[in-house]
Amino acid sequence: MKPTPDIVVIGGGNAALCAAITAAEAGAQVLILEAAPKPYRGGNSRHTRNFRCMHDGPLGPLVESYSEDEYFADLMKVTGGKTHEALARLAIRTSEECLPWMEAHGVRFQPSLSGTLSLARTNAFFLGGGKGLVNAYYRTAAKLGVAVEYEAKVTHLEVEDGRVVYLDYTQNDITHRLEPKSVVVASGGFQADTDWLARAWGPAAKNFLIRGTPYNRGVVLADLLDQGVEQVGDPTQCHSVAIDGRAPKYDGGIVTRLDCVPFSIVVNKHAERFYDEGEDVWPKRYAIWGRLVAAQPDQVGYAIIDAQSLDLFMPSVFPPIKADTLEELARMMGLPEDKLRATVDAFNASCGDTRGFKPTELDGVSTKGLTPPKTNWARSITQAPFYGYSLRTGVTFTYLGLKVDETAQCSIGNRPVSNLWAAGETMAGSILGQGYLAGFGMTIGTVFGRIAGAEAAKHAS
């Protein structure tokens, strides 16, 4: 029989590992229960690539400076003001000391990736991406004596009189019960449970693709919410982007993203345009297209470009569908041929002077008299061959989660649950009400993972 650990950390991604490492360094016996098998360990952290970090002057791979106020303003912009200011500022301020902590615990950084130069000042990229980070943390945790069980699915935490008295997990069909002194929940959102998504979103959610791990099914989250642990966030809110419609149902990750939208027209299954494809540069717009596509019939969209635009964006994992005529392309993509022809003709007729076309900046080359308009990069689609990509909604994570305070502690009513803390995506809704800022998820996970680990260890000692 294994000894009962002081602390159980539920989950095996960035936040869980930061909590486990911090707690182990404080002297606690820590057990990580990771639901995934070892090759898939790390939750959505496996798919991440960078960490948004405040800094005063160059820091590690980051150039220039990125102040607390600028960082916070960036956050307010994407969340439309739906941000918990105190917790957000705590995450932002602490991010600066996290970067050296991450390096000290094995994480290595690399210069901003090709195609992402706009992030060189604000986001520190992990060498090898998020799985490289996760691997490094597992190595560090092992050295500190942290035990890890894979395929260990926590099914229930028994909350009584304001504390967790025991938890159950199953592994190889055997149920185990543990009575740790402290528990840290870092097991993500519920986006991989499409039934839950469908309850929140309606049946359309069944057509969504899940960009990340299939193991974030929200079992622990639902179990705690059912027992009255405070929740935060709107269940209909999730971070979603438009990804290649041919992507796998789960775990497609970064390579399924499509960057062609600003140079295309996007139509629905009736070959009708529905939104301004050129509203802003792509890094500032990709996150709204998940919702736009979700609102279309069958939750599908089709981006159409011509030969002039093929090399203007990053290649994606699936080659585009290619045809010599628009009619043939429509046939290959299952779109009404006449309608697509009419939509493209109307678009082309509204394109004006395109001499100012500049793919790398807002060029103001817009349509005239078209609804909806295309306000930048509006260049007529005339040069064969024509290319098409199908678009679907890819969900990254959900916002409904556990409400925590600045010590990452959970509560019931106004009373804290004395031995329960949460970190990472499962509590990100405490900070963000909607919207997302690239690399902020890893900031929340690292900052609150470390806080949760320290608090859990303090309680256990």
Partner: protein, 352 residues
């Protein structure tokens, strides 16, 4: 070239090109990311640029059981292996030896037999020391062609490689960049300077880099030792045996020790590493080649240590037999990788 191997590597490269998380590990990724589409020549160049550090495999979010099933180190190793067989002259010899440790063993055994035969019935002369077993002229008559003919073969192979990968005129700066990279094995440094993955999954260590360089620099010292002996013999009329403080010994003894030690270390690392991240089919050929290198070095050291005993003629035949086998097989064993790697590094320097 085997189209299916190239196609599989191309499939994987296209996924990598949409991800780019591994950009900082080595030279392969910046070269890969510079393309949108990959010709057969592009894939061949990437394959030979890859040092099999495995960083990209262990960091990859798309390895099996994921349906994308990425294993770029293995895909490139297979193409690389195939390219060496394809570009070799004559091709049929490379096909016989590259993947086949037994063939290497048999060939080297035949070299031993040849040397024993020569030492017993043909070679003995009135020379001193080793030359009493095999005359100097006979040694030169055997080893000069056994060294130069393989080099000529390799020159033909490199020419084929250059054409296939679209290389341009070589400038000094390209060569310098390539040698600087090879001298430090920069591509096994992991981007962060902490080494590569190999013998313990995703742990970064300097072991493989150090072991390889022990063999490489040891080999260079041994080669310099032989070259210095040749110069002493012809230019200064000083013939072997040389004393401990002579140039051939000062270069050769540390070189032999480094080579022996490095080869044993490499074999041990290889034993621990996952064969499915390399050219799995070529494993026996690779192991036999490393063992042969180690044997060349160790037999040279033993020959020096026991050169004054009655075992000397036997040891000399063994050492010279292994050296002969090593040289003759140079274009057709893993030894070829050094030449192709340099060519790929020079070719990569031309991108900048």
């Amino acid at each position: 070239m085997q189209a299916d191997l190239i196609q599989e590597a191309r499939r994987q490269a296209e996924i990598c090109n949409a991800c780019r998380y591994c950009e900082g590990y080595c030279s392969v990724f910046p070269a890969l990311h510079a393309n949108r589409a990959f010709s057969d020549g592009d894939i061949t160049q990437l394959a030979n640029l890859c040092h099999n550090c495995r960083g990209c495999y262990y960091a990859c979010q798309y390895t099996a059981p994921h349906e994308f099933d990425l294993n770029l180190p293995a895909a490139l190793a297979d193409v690389r292996q195939d390219s060496w067989e394809e570009f070799a002259f004559p091709r049929v010899v490379a096909r016989a030896f590259q993947r086949n440790g037994m063939a290497i063993t048999i060939a080297v055994t035949l070299c031993f037999a040849l040397l024993f035969t020569l030492a017993k019935w043909v070679g003995p002369s009135d020379g001193e020391g080793f030359y009493a077993v095999l005359s100097h002229n006979l040694m030169v008559a055997i080893f000069a062609p056994a060294f130069l003919a393989p080099l000529a073969s390799i020159a033909i192979s490199l020419r084929r490689y250059w054409v296939a990968t679209g290389g341009g005129p070589v400038r000094f700066a390209h060569v310098r960049a390539a040698f600087q990279s090879a001298a430090t094995l920069r591509n096994l440094a992991g981007g962060h300077g902490e080494g590569c993955n190999f013998e313990d999954e995703d742990r970064f260590t300097q072991a493989r880099r150090l072991a390889h360089q022990a063999v490489l620099y040891g080999f260079a010292l041994c080669f310099a030792s032989t070259a210095s002996g040749t110069v002493l013999h012809y230019a200064f009329d000083m013939s072997a045996p040389y004393g401990l403080l002579s140039l051939p010994k000062l270069l050769g003894i540390p070189g032999g020790i480094m080579m022996t030690f490095g080869a044993v270390w490499l074999l041990d690392l290889k034993r621990k590493a996952d064969p499915h991240l390399g050219a799995a089919q070529a494993r026996s050929g690779e192991v036999a080649f490393i063992a042969l290198l180690g044997f060349v070095a160790l037999s040279g050291l033993v020959l020096y240590a026991m050169g004054q005993t009655a075992l000397m003629p036997t040891l000399l035949a063994l050492h010279l037999g292994s050296v002969l086998g090593f040289f003759l097989l140079m274009p057709y064993t893993k030894m070829a990788h050094g030449f192709y790697r340099l060519a790929a590094l020079i070719r990569d320097a031309q991108r900048h």
